[in-house]
């Protein structure tokens, strides 16, 4: 059997008495984009942080490209090719925006390329260009708007040349126009190619998002979490018409949103 790209087995995380993710298992392929949805407090962000290594699971295992990465250091996981963004953006506030991205460009994974890529500032600028905020590159990160902070998060994650990109609410707090733009950027990134010095390997993606309409357009598959367990897993149009999902997500009497 071929190694699956990302394999999550019986992943469980308990915060004191609260079980945030309860034996979650799924696997994904190299070229998939998975949408992860669920009501508030369903454990979506916890699941992503477990994969990214920011939290340690109570039990269960995660393997990435056949290697067990359960309990690895966050930076090792990033340097294997799993990049993630934060839902509540965490920029380095007192640094200029370009320096924020330069930190990612200085990671060993990002520096593994040739001399051309080692010009970190130029590469950081290309990442900002890709995210669409290169015009404010020299401003302090604390001056950015919410939407631009989201872009900064994406730029920072993309600058580590990920193979698996985990986006936590990339459209949260964006206007409809900005959302469209971001969705296009994400789709462009998934196709792969070069953006200046920035090399996209066409990463697989896991996207947490509440704006389902935009999400539907870009994902291949949707996983619905509720109370830490997987409620449904399948193609977008199948999942959103599943009565169980509608009940969990919208409560009784809700309608499909596709």
């Amino acid at each position: 059997m071929a190694q699956s790209f990302l394999e999550v087995k019986n992943l469980r995380k308990e915060f004191g008495g609260l079980t945030a993710t309860n034996d979650v298992s799924f696997s994904m392929g190299r070229n998939e984009i998975i949408g992860l949805i669920g009501p508030n407090g369903a454990g979506k962000t916890t699941l992503l942080r477990l994969i990214a290594g920011i939290l340690k699971p109570t039990s269960g295992s995660i393997s990435f490209k056949g290697k067990n990465i359960t309990g690895s250091k966050a930076w090792d996981i990033v340097n294997m090719g799993v990049a993630s963004t934060f839902q509540n953006m965490r920029p380095f506030r007192r640094l200029p925006i370009v320096a924020n991205v330069m930190v990612s460009c200085l990671s060993p994974r990002s520096m593994r390329g040739g001399e051309w890529v080692k010009k970190v500032e130029a590469k950081a600028m290309d990442a900002l260009e890709f995210a669409g905020i290169s015009d404010v590159a020299l401003e302090k990160a604390s001056t950015l708007s919410q939407g631009d902070l989201k872009r900064l998060e994406v730029a920072r994650a993309v600058a580590t040349d990920p193979e698996l990109l985990i986006l936590d609410e990339p459209f949260g707090g964006l206007s409809p126009a900005e959302t469209d733009l971001m969705a296009k950027s994400v789709a462009r990134l998934h196709r792969g190619g070069r953006f200046g010095r920035l090399h996209s390997e066409g990463p697989a993606m896991i996207i947490i998002e509440h704006k389902l309409q935009q999400l539907m357009k870009i994902v291949d598959r949707i996983i619905v979490l509720n109370f830490g367990t997987i409620l449904a897993d399948g193609a977008p149009d199948v999942v959103v018409n599943d009565p169980k999902v509608i009940e969990a997500y919208l409560g009784d009497g809700g309608t499909s949103c596709s």
């Binding site: 250091k73 007192r94 320096a99 330069m102 990612s104 990671s107």
Partner: protein, 353 residues
């Protein structure tokens, strides 16, 4: 001959177009020239002694800034590095007869080792917990020093080290030039890619990890670098005073370093150096003045404290960044600094508001 003229021309050109355009650069230039020219003006023993101690403490304060200002690892026991290096230097010099140019770097290496030993248990600590833990280390070491007086000299310390150099003026040049060089190196470190990572660790460690940075390694690096520079200062101190005593480990010295740095302006290498060069001679001047008024014995510390408090009240960023913001403004477009009175940016010609 023509090559000399050509190089002189180029130097003058750089001077005019790069240095004389900004008050802060002029200030640095004047400072360097003043430091180097001081012995031409006076060779007074007492003044030179104060300036030597000032330059040693300037290295110490800048090294604290590297660890606590840039990396954000609040170190309240910075005297540890100073003291360890002073003792190691003294032991090597007294027992093995190493000359200063050999014992001081080895003492600094001792401080680097100390940085590793302190840094590893401190990796998981943050904020006030880290501050309290680091505060404890010099106290522990002082206990050890008192416990084995046969090796460390106990309360009297180790005395009778070789002189740093033959004369006071040479001592002055050695310490001052080392201060300038090491300050330059520290500034260069903080200005490099490594410096950006250190900044990032201070701002948000989790986010730095999520960007693929091995924060453990860089925090230890900061501890070691800071220990190295503080160790050079400690070794210089031991050889200059010809004494390595428990006073080099005192809590008072640790706090003094913090006061100098916060007064001068943290997160800016030049701030702590300037802080030491302002406060340390100022204290000596106060001592001389107040000696004429024997009825006011404790006024010196009072004035010192009042000065620091007022500075922090009205210039929370520290004295030097405050002054710098007064005389220089940042171009809104290209973020290059300009003299405050310019109407347009010197680089991009954008209007300064």
């Amino acid at each position: 001959m023509r090559i000399v003229v050509a190089y002189t021309r180029r130097m003058l050109k750089i001077l005019r177009s790069e240095v004389l355009v900004l008050p802060s650069r002029v200030a640095v230039l004047v400072f360097v020239i003043a430091i180097l020219a001081l012995p031409l003006v006076t060779q007074d023993y007492y003044i030179l002694r104060i300036m030597i101690l000032t330059s040693i403490f300037a290295i110490l304060a800048a090294s604290w800034d590297l660890l606590s200002g840039f990396t954000g690892q609040m170190n309240f026991g910075h005297a540890l590095f100073f003291g360890v290096s002073a003792y190691v230097t003294a032991l090597l010099n007294l027992n093995l007869g190493f000359p200063p140019y050999f014992s001081i770097p080895l003492g600094a290496m001792g401080a680097v080792l100390t940085g590793l030993i302190v840094g590893i248990p401190c990796l998981r600590l943050k904020g006030s917990y880290l501050a309290l833990t680091t505060l404890a280390f010099p106290i522990i070491l002082m206990g050890i020093v008192f416990a084995i007086p046969g090796i460390t000299g106990g309360e009297l310390g180790l005395s009778g080290l070789t002189k740093l150099t033959g004369s006071r003026v040479n001592d002055y040049y050695v310490t001052s030039i080392l201060m300038l060089v090491l300050g330059g190196i520290m500034w260069k470190i903080t200005d490099s890619n490594t410096g950006i990572i250190l900044h990032a660790i201070r701002e948000d460690e989790v986010a730095a990890r999520a960007a693929g940075i091995n924060t453990t390694r860089y925090k230890l690096l900061a501890f070691c670098l800071s220990g190295f520079f503080a160790g050079i200062a400690g070794g210089l101190y031991a050889h200059f005073m010809r004494l390595a005593g428990p006073s080099t480990l005192e809590i008072g010295l640790s706090f003094q370093v913090i006061i100098w740095s916060v007064f001068g302006g943290m997160v800016s290498i030049y701030g702590p150096i300037a802080g030491v060069y302002i406060l340390n001679p100022f204290m000596e001047v106060l001592r001389v003045i107040l000696d004429n008024f024997p009825s006011l014995p404790e006024m010196r510390m009072f004035i010192f404290a009042a000065l620091v408090l007022l500075t922090l009240r009205f210039m929370p960023e520290g004295l030097i960044p405050w002054l710098r913001d007064k005389v220089e403004t940042e171009c809104p477009r290209c973020k290059v600094r300009n003299v405050a009175f310019r109407r347009s940016c010197r680089i991009c010609n954008a209007a300064m508001t």
